[in-house]
Symmetry: C2
Subunit: 595 residues, 2 copies
Amino acid sequence: MKPIDELRQWMRREHLQVTIIPTNDCHFGEYVPAYFKVREWLSGFTGSAGTLAVTLSDAALWTDSRYFIQAARQLEGSGIVLMKQKVAGTPTIAQWINEKCRESQATPASFAVGLDGDLFTADEVEDYRAQLGGIPLTLFRDPFDTIWAERPQLTFTDITLMPERYAGMSVRDKYLAVRNHLCIEGEFAMFVTACDEVMWLCNLRANDVEYNPVALSYCILDNCGITLFCKKEKLTREAADYLAAQDVKVCDYDEIDDALSRIPGSVPVIASGGLCSARKMSILKNHPMVKEQVVGGTIAMLRACKNDIQLEWTRKALLEDGICWVKLLKYVYDNYPSGELSEYSITRELLGIKRQSPGYVGESFEPIVAFGPNAAAAHYSFDSEESSAKVTGSGFLLMDLGSHYPYGTTDTTRTIWLGGEIPDELRKDYTLVMKGNIALSQAIFPAGTRGCQLDILARGPMYATGKMYFHGTSHGVGQYLCVHESPQIRMEYNPIPLQEGMVLSNEPAIYVEGSHGIRTENMIAVRHYMTTGFNTFLRFETLTMVPIDLSIVDFTLLSEDERHWVEDFNRTVFETLSPRLEDDEREWLLNYILR
Amino acid sequence: MKPIDELRQWMRREHLQVTIIPTNDCHFGEYVPAYFKVREWLSGFTGSAGTLAVTLSDAALWTDSRYFIQAARQLEGSGIVLMKQKVAGTPTIAQWINEKCRESQATPASFAVGLDGDLFTADEVEDYRAQLGGIPLTLFRDPFDTIWAERPQLTFTDITLMPERYAGMSVRDKYLAVRNHLCIEGEFAMFVTACDEVMWLCNLRANDVEYNPVALSYCILDNCGITLFCKKEKLTREAADYLAAQDVKVCDYDEIDDALSRIPGSVPVIASGGLCSARKMSILKNHPMVKEQVVGGTIAMLRACKNDIQLEWTRKALLEDGICWVKLLKYVYDNYPSGELSEYSITRELLGIKRQSPGYVGESFEPIVAFGPNAAAAHYSFDSEESSAKVTGSGFLLMDLGSHYPYGTTDTTRTIWLGGEIPDELRKDYTLVMKGNIALSQAIFPAGTRGCQLDILARGPMYATGKMYFHGTSHGVGQYLCVHESPQIRMEYNPIPLQEGMVLSNEPAIYVEGSHGIRTENMIAVRHYMTTGFNTFLRFETLTMVPIDLSIVDFTLLSEDERHWVEDFNRTVFETLSPRLEDDEREWLLNYILR
């Protein structure tokens, strides 16, 4: 029987006419553990975003433009209709359900819709309820342990200590900082649902989710302190001892519901509506809910602002990153003439280089190695060795790579030109992307400035040629944590101002479909610049230590100041890395930045 | 008897313990006609912003930091306490009233507060109600016709036609454009309360409010068309005939309440909460209220986007403006050596020059002529001929001037240096302000870009020196209408995107208290630049035709591109103005831009 028909069998038993299957886990993280990939199992569609709606006779899958081609291919023959999000004429999920109800000539009251209350936020469920009108919506608990015979296990890996010498702050001090920011007098309880927030708060790391060094876990903060909910037996001795010494109470992962229901009804609760499941929220429904004073959440804000020790370790991670990049770039240039390189072989090589890097833990996201027109897809990946492009002939090679070290996370993109003379238009595009990167790097701005106010600096140079990119300019980067953190620098308004210690990416880009893709990405940190009678001013420190190819720059488009900036940058990269490079690598790097 | 005691006598008769007196008229415009200056009459404080609260024994006046010094002086001996807004420890008006209630040992229910429902918006009244707790709030009608013996009359001036050859659009077409933007099917009524919106919609102008060429008036739009409420007898024959030909129904100004109450209860009403009085809103309270789809209001949006004919006439206004400026600048430079110039004499001269300008109607705001440290106040004005500063010795002379012509409104600021060599720091500040002005002028940006995304271009250059200004970078400018229109370019987020045809100011500045003030302000228009596969891109056209003093620029701080821009600008000014200048003026201008 097809997976989707197994689901229908269960729906009949449960008297459900419709189920809605999202792409989420119960912590609403960016990456979904295999255990939660129910939508993929049911539909065969492997993309990272999509929602499936299933009736007893029909099914449809909603996904966004990144996946239209892939989803169409993977859904072929499945009987599942592809619904293209944000395309005119595409119904919403609720509209589609209403239509199916009419078609079946059922009364709305009898057309029961079910969804897993652990995988939708309270806000999402409320939206569905409003849009479904008279059709009843019920929340069910995950039934797939029995329906899905080959279901992968939930992985619980060892939970290790992030020592204070890396974190720069004790858990006790973090608890006090959170309380201080909350500004609550009297009793309170704060429910922390995002795994990376729990990890930051408790100075822990693990490996439960691909690319994200987190443990599936929750926390409750209250007037007495922190209670951590995780697989207790997975805590290393060192971690358990530290938590005990910091007065963190540890409970089992499965005890969270009980603990929530035991919070006295009079105690105000702080929980993030966007990160808390409808079912968890329903346990808390009788409590006064307190809105956080800090937009985006107190813990997300504190986590975003790295202290001096964290910054120092992040620089160290970027030093190791830089050394790997030099080896990789040298490998690519040395081996390109052989005609044997492919996106696949370069990826294999870079993983080999990284495994030699002292302390390297793993990748912080799936490596992107894209040649020629492939680089025009911002998040290109190849399916297999065979389908990866040969890196021969001429074209841009775009590589976007990130690593985890026990003390820091990296994210760097470089685009290099291979094969013969670069055409003028491509040279110009490359230079405009670099100008944007330099302009944001050099920005000086008063305290209180928001990301959307700075965004134009990265985009402005390319606007004059009528080009732009459709992703954010910048995202926050964790410290041996998720490579995508809030806040971001985007065109869209976000009320969180940039603050000292925030670590961000700086990644302007140009993508021309069918032709080329260029992205230059450095990591930057917000630092104090000066305080005057007018205000406190901030600026960025560029943290990344990977050389930028200047041989393909159109210098007539750079101001003297910009030229100095980028030449100084390459010189700093050389001086910083060279003590750690082999002789031939050092020589290669010197030639590279001087050519 | 003191005015405030006359008010108290009336309060006793009306059984009111407190009254709140704002600085508003019933259309909530920027300038308040003399008839409505009740707060000034009661308190003696002449500033443009402030709210007075009066009990039977006490009184207090809330105003903002611009007026702390002036208000303290003017309130001296009045018994009215000055309340400094946004200063720590200052109570809100509601807190002060609650305190007075406690002091008087009255029960809250007996401590009746009254305010004029025509002078507060519905939102404001709701806020007061919420904050006053158990203290009852009643709305009264303006009682000052009897209390204030010498009250100025409401001025109703002739209402003239803004011919279509200036407006570029018939009233009928404007009506259709509004309906088109509203996207409402079925019956509706739209209540237009802002006088400048009425003027724009009906192609009318008048002179009822200082500096703003508007008539006190309302409109109601419904499925049948436009009904205008104004002093009918003040319509010129030409205007009345035009309105009749365009099917605009004209009622008397005083008939608006009746008309509102006659809108059938089932008809949805569109009215701007921020521009509609609590009393007017209470007449409409049983109607379904429709939220406008366009942020800031459909009419404000349509009015902001000038058509090609309006732009052409705005250029013409700025040509006349430029000629006046050349005469004024020449006068200042010629007469400065005499040592006889003062802020007052320069203001008198500029008004004289303008009166000679063909078609000149009047000023669009109070002229600012500020010398030396006086220019550090962004909105400086002198009280009298005697108190105005002598323009002798060395310093910056800042002049911010605007005119109305029957076809356009202008707003230009220039800062020039008088007397000897300019100190390096001031030369640098002047150059940084100019760099900001040039950067915004040269911006190219995709459709959908908002003001707050461009703001950094004007501010960025001065940030590196730790300086900034605390007002917006830009405001919309009307066409022979209010010199301050929405939208604006500010640091603060405003969801309205910049759109083709919007006419704005561009006015970065540096103010150093006790030392100097610099502002360079041009008017700019949003124009189409190009449409590519990526997006439609917009850019600015600089409309102002007044030379910029380059003799005090630090050219080492300008890029080649910036230098070209500003030299080209001055050359364009010369070429545009010179056919209209006298020989000596032309020669002077040529020397000025070449020196």
